[in-house]
Amino acid sequence: MKIIAVCGLGQGTSLILRMNVEDVVRELNLDADVDHMDVSSAAGQRADVIITSPQLAPLLAGHKARVLVVSSFLNKAEIKKVMQEYMQS
C-alpha cells in the first residue's frame, strides 16, 4: 500500500506527518510505503491513500487515491483512527 503525506510546500510539515504515519503503520502492522510531498507533486503521483489537512483536501478531489483528512499532523490517535476507518472500509 502506498501512502502519501501532503502539506503545502512539501518540506517540513508533511515530513512530520509522514513520520507519525509511519509510526501508526508500524503500530497497526500494515505493509505500507509512506512518502511526503507538496500538494502539486501529489496530484501527479500514484498512491492508495493520501493524508492531508482540511484546507488542502479539496485540491486533491479528483485524485484516484483515497484522501484522508486529519485536523492535526501531530495527533497520532487521530491518524490511527482515520487509517483504521480506511482499512475497514
Binding site: 502539506c7 503545502g8 510546500l9 518540506q11 502539486s40 484546507q55 492535526s72
Partner: protein
C-alpha cells in the same frame, strides 16, 4: 595506512554527495531498517543532494537577468553579481561540511537537551541545511575565498554554534507557543523565530488583543495562492515584466544592451520566461531538499527519542497556522504590501535591488501574524507582517552587499531569511574572533 586515509579524504569526505550517502546509510542501519529501505534511502539522499545543485544553477541564471534589469530601472551602476561562487560550486565544495555540521550540531542539540533545562529537539531539517549553508558562506567570505581553510576546525566551530542555536531558539519562542497552542508539548523550530518573537512583543504594545483575527472573515477564491510554484511565477512574472517594460522604454546604452539579450524576440516575453525559470529552479531545489531531508530527519528523530524521550520537538512554522489561520493571512498581506514598498525604497536610497522572496515572506509573515495576534489581535498580526518584510528586505540588502558577497549571495536572495539576517552579523563577528582556528 596514510594513503588510505588520504583516499578516504579525497573520495569520501571530499565528495559531499558520497559523504551524505554515507551519513544516511549509517543512520538507516542504526534505525534497523530493512535492506530495501537502506538502499533506497541512501540513494534518494544522494540524488536529492545533487538535484539541489541543478536547481541552484537555474536560479542563478534567472537572477542574472533580474538584477541588472532592475538596477537599470533605478538607474544604478551595474550591480556586480559577478565574482561569487554560486550555490552549486559552494555546495560541491562545502556540502559535505554542511552535512557534517548538521550531524554534529544535532548531536550537540541532543546532549544539551539531555543535560540542561532546554529540552528541545530541532527537527526542521531543511532549515538546518539552509541556515548552516548561509552561515558557512558568511564565514568563508570573511576568511577569503583563496585562503586554505581547516575544514575540521570549521566543522567543529559551526557544530557548536548551530547546536546552541537549535537548542536555544525554540526556548526563546516557547512562552508564546504555550499561549498559541494552549499546551507545552510542541515548540517552534524555524528561522522565523526572530520576527515571530518581535511580532509578539510589538503586538503586546501596539495591538488590540480584544479584536482577535479569527473573528474576521476574509474572502475565499484565493485557492491558487496555495501552490508556491504559482505564487512565485505570478509575483516574479509581474516584477520581471514590469522591469522589462520600463527598461525597454529607456534610451540608455545599458538598457539597450539588456534588450539585445532577447535577440530578435520580445524583451518582455524573454523576461517573463526568466521569471518562470526562476520558479522552476526553486521547484527543483525544493524537490532535492525534500528527498535529502526526508532521509536525514527520521534518522535524527530516531536518535533523539532514544536519548531524550521527554524533549519537545521543535517544528516547522506551519504547525502554528491552524491555531489562527486568518492571522497568518493578515501577516502575509502586511508583509506583501511592505515588501513592495521596501523594494522601491531600497532601490531609490541604497541602490539595492531587493528580490521579494515569496516563500520566506509567506512563511515568516504568517508565523509572525499568528504570534502578533496572540498578543495584539488582528492589528498585531498585520503589524507582524510589516515587521517581517522590513527584516527580510533590509536583511537581504545587508547580507548580499556586506556579509557573503564572494560566496553565495544568490542563495541569500531567495533562501535568506529572518534569523539568518539577524544573526548573520553575529556569526561574522564570531568567525573573525575564531579565525585563527580555521586558517
Amino acid at each position: 595506512m596514510f594513503a588510505f586515509a588520504q583516499w578516504l579524504a579525497n573520495n569520501i569526505f571530499g565528495q559531499p554527495a558520497i559523504l551524505i550517502g554515507f551519513i544516511v546509510l549509517v543512520g538507516l542501519l542504526v534505525q534497523k531498517k530493512n535492506s530495501n529501505q537502506v538502499i533506497s534511502g541512501t540513494l534518494k539522499a544522494i540524488v536529492g543532494f545533487l538535484i539541489i545543485n541543478i536547481g541552484a544553477g537555474a536560479i542563478v541564471n534567472a537572477l542574472n537577468v533580474f538584477q541588472p534589469m532592475w538596477a537599470e530601472v533605478f538607474g544604478l551602476q551595474q550591480q556586480s553579481l559577478t565574482n561569487f561562487m554560486g550555490f552549486d560550486k559552494f555546495n560541491s565544495q562545502y556540502g559535505g561540511a554542511v552535512a557534517l555540521i548538521m550531524t554534529f550540531g544535532f548531536l550537540i542539540n541532543v546532549l544539551l537537551a539531555r543535560f540542561t533545562p532546554f529540552k528541545y529537539i530541532y527537527l526542521t531539517g531543511h532549515m538546518m541545511f539552509w541556515t548552516t549553508a548561509i552561515f558557512v558562506g558568511i564565514v568563508l567570505d570573511s576568511v577569503g575565498a583563496t585562503a586554505t581553510v581547516n575544514s575540521w576546525a570549521l566543522i567543529a566551530f559551526f557544530s557548536v554554534l548551530m547546536g546552541l542555536y537549535w537548542t536555544l531558539q525554540p526556548a526563546l519562542t516557547q512562552r508564546y507557543m504555550r499561549r498559541i497552542t494552549d499546551s507545552d508539548e510542541i515548540a517552534l523550530g524555524h528561522t522565523a523565530a526572530s520576527v515571530a518573537f518581535l511580532a509578539a512583543v510589538v503586538g503586546g504594545v501596539v495591538g488590540n488583543k480584544e479584536q482577535d483575527s479569527e473573528s474576521l472573515k476574509l474572502p475565499k477564491g484565493l485557492d491558487f495562492l496555495k501552490d508556491s510554484n504559482v505564487v512565485i511565477s505570478l509575483l516574479m512574472g509581474l516584477l520581471y515584466m514590469i522591469g522589462a517594460v520600463i527598461v525597454g522604454a529607456k534610451d540608455t546604452p545599458a538598457a539597450q544592451a539588456l534588450v539585445k539579450q532577447a535577440g530578435s524576440n520580445s524583451f518582455v516575453l524573454y523576461a517573463l520566461l526568466q521569471a518562470f525559470n526562476f520558479a522552476a529552479g526553486i521547484a527543483v531545489v525544493l524537490f532535492g531538499v525534500r528527498l535529502l531531508i526526508g532521509e536525514i530527519v527520521p534518522a535524527f528523530r530516531g536518535i533523539a527519542t532514544k536519548i531524550v524521550p521527554n524533549a519537545r520537538p521543535a517544528l516547522d512554522c506551519p504547525v502554528v497556522f491552524p491555531y489562527a489561520p486568518t492571522a497568518s493571512i493578515l501577516g502575509f498581506l502586511g508583509a506583501f504590501v511592505a515588501a513592495l514598498v521596501w523594494l522601491i525604497v531600497l532601490g531609490k536610497t541604497v541602490g539595492y535591488v531587493f528580490v521579494p522572496t515569496m516563500i520566506v515572506l509567506f512563511f515568516h509573515a504568517a508565523t509572525a501574524g499568528v504570534f502578533g495576534n496572540a498578543t495584539g489581535g488582528a492589528r498585531g498580526a498585520f503589524i507582524g507582517g510589516i515587521i517581517t518584510a522590513t527584516v527580510v528586505a533590509w536583511g537581504q540588502w545587508l547580507m548580499v552587499t556586506a556579509l557573503l558577497q564572494s560566496t553565495i549571495p544568490d542563495t541569500a536572495m531567495w533562501a535568506g531569511d529572518s534569523d539568518m539576517f539577524i544573526l548573520g552579523p553575529v556569526v561574522k563577528l564570531l568567525g573573525n574572533l575564531f579565525k585563527f582556528l580555521f586558517v
